[in-house]
Amino acid sequence: MQVNERKPLIVAFCCNWCSYAGADLAGNNRLSYPADVKIIKVPCSCRVNPMFILRAFQRGADGVILCGCHPGDCHYTSGNYYTRRRMALLFSMLDYLGIEKERTRVEWVSAAEGAKFAATMNDFAQTVAALGENKRLEDLRCKK
């Protein structure tokens, strides 16, 4: 293994009620997931504006994952149903512009699914690492 192997930067938007608690559970259970995953807590997955995702990429993220409650279990009844439609259209559009579709993902993780959270993050980090550096979505003005 190379010493200075490049590590991908991953931004995970997690909803306050399910996925963030799922991440907590993963920690309590001492399940490991890559430290390159940076979690941003949002009140609900539908708080995530498409611009948040694009801005994360622009500022240097290599992958963005959005986690929310399972459909039907939203704390606010229907937030994640709207998220589902929005993200379906956004991901389809990113693919239309020729941007690697593996860099974005939506996953439903409940508060009881600590193991799923860790497994999802491990899998996503691997996928993104295999893709290499994000070149198509970067903005050099945002690089330090």
Binding site: Q58, A88, T104, E138, R141
Partner: protein, 325 residues
């Protein structure tokens, strides 16, 4: 079919002004050149001498109603082509203006022409253009070129989706039908390319963007009083290096903000000074919405619920959206 002429429209406007139905007319007037037609507001019968109507009158007036209905105590007269009536309905759905303050006159349309296509045939130095079934172009080099109108129709008119007016108070001439159009052909062509080819294509198109915001300003669906792109605290309000993601982000978000509300009127591509095919982004969203959530035409009826403010428990997952295409 009754031919719609300038005189017919002026006559209609004068009679409505004189009998007090309206006190303001939205129409077109000549700009710097014959082909440079600009939207204008006419307040009295005298000023209507500047009114023009020809094959360059593509401007969609629906958005102008938002500000102009606020300025009048009476009504505003507006001439609407079939595609404009969809935007008109969409704005009514969003409660953007008072329907009681508008007198809408529907006018049939057999397509508007694209000056860039004319220029490609006639060459530079256009001095005068006469519109009709055949278009006669005189250049400053004393040349005269005759062009078939069908050869220089604007892209959005070649793939016209409807000749039917969905809203009007009065209709001049006859109403048409909703057409079977080939408007998604180009989107499909792009979809069939590889990801690298698509990226090359959009990189080439969108890196030409000069961020003039004309596409946003003209769009009848973009009617926020404060736009996210006008926020000086965000670094997204100006032009970036050609190879950065900035312009792509602007155009993705611009199209996303009107997704489900875009009536595909094609104004964004018409006004783009860099000739970027922006309608291909909007049409991609329309096509996806049709595929994923059932056929939906924004503006077809007032009060319909847009797909992005609606849901079913059976919707497809975002991961499947890309795979299933």
């Amino acid at each position: 079919m009754q031919k719609i002429t300038r005189d017919l429209l002026v006559e209609k406007a004068v009679s409505l002004l004189e009998n007090g139905t309206v006190d303001m007319v939205l129409g077109w007037k000549k700009g710097e050149f014959d082909y440079d037609i600009t939207p204008a507001v006419f307040a009295d019968a005298d000023s209507l001498k500047d009114f023009v109507f020809d094959d360059f009158c593509g401007a969609n007036f629906s958005k102008y109603l938002i500000s102009n209905t606020k300025k009048t105590a009476s009504k505003v007269l507006v001439f609407l082509k079939p595609c404009d009536t969809y935007s008109f309905n969409q704005l009514l759905t969003e409660h953007r203006f008072d329907r009681e303050k508008v007198y809408a006159v529907g006018i049939p349309c057999d397509g508007m022409v694209d000056i860039h296509k004319i220029r490609a045939i006639s060459g530079e130095g256009i001095a005068k253009i006469e519109c009709g079934e055949k278009i006669t172009v005189s250049t400053i080099y004393d040349e005269t070129v005759n062009i078939e109108k069908a050869d220089v129709l604007a892209e959005r008119c070649v793939t016209c989706k409807s000749k039917k007016h969905v809203a009007y108070d009065e209709l001049l001439g006859e109403d048409g039908e909703v057409l079977e159009s080939a408007r998604f052909d180009e989107v499909e062509k792009l979809e069939s390319m590889t990801a690298d080819e698509r990226f090359e294509f959009w990189q080439g198109e969108l890196s030409r963007c000069i961020r003039c915001n004309a596409c946003r300003d003209v769009c009848p669906a973009c009617t926020c009083e404060k736009c996210v792109f006008d926020n000086p605290a965000s670094p997204v309000e100006n032009k970036a290096a050609a190879n950065s993601f900035e312009e792509k982000m602007f155009h993705i978000i611009r199209a996303f903000h009107v997704a489900g509300r875009c009536t595909d009127c094609g104004e964004c591509s018409r006004v783009c000074p860099q000739h970027i095919p922006l309608h291909l982004l909007n049409r991609k969203f329309i096509k996806d919405i049709d595929n994923f959530y059932g056929e939906y035409q924004a503006g077809e009826e007032v009060g319909s619920r847009a797909p992005l403010v609606n849901y079913t428990t059976e919707d497809l997952e975002p991961g499947e959206a890309v795979e299933g295409r």
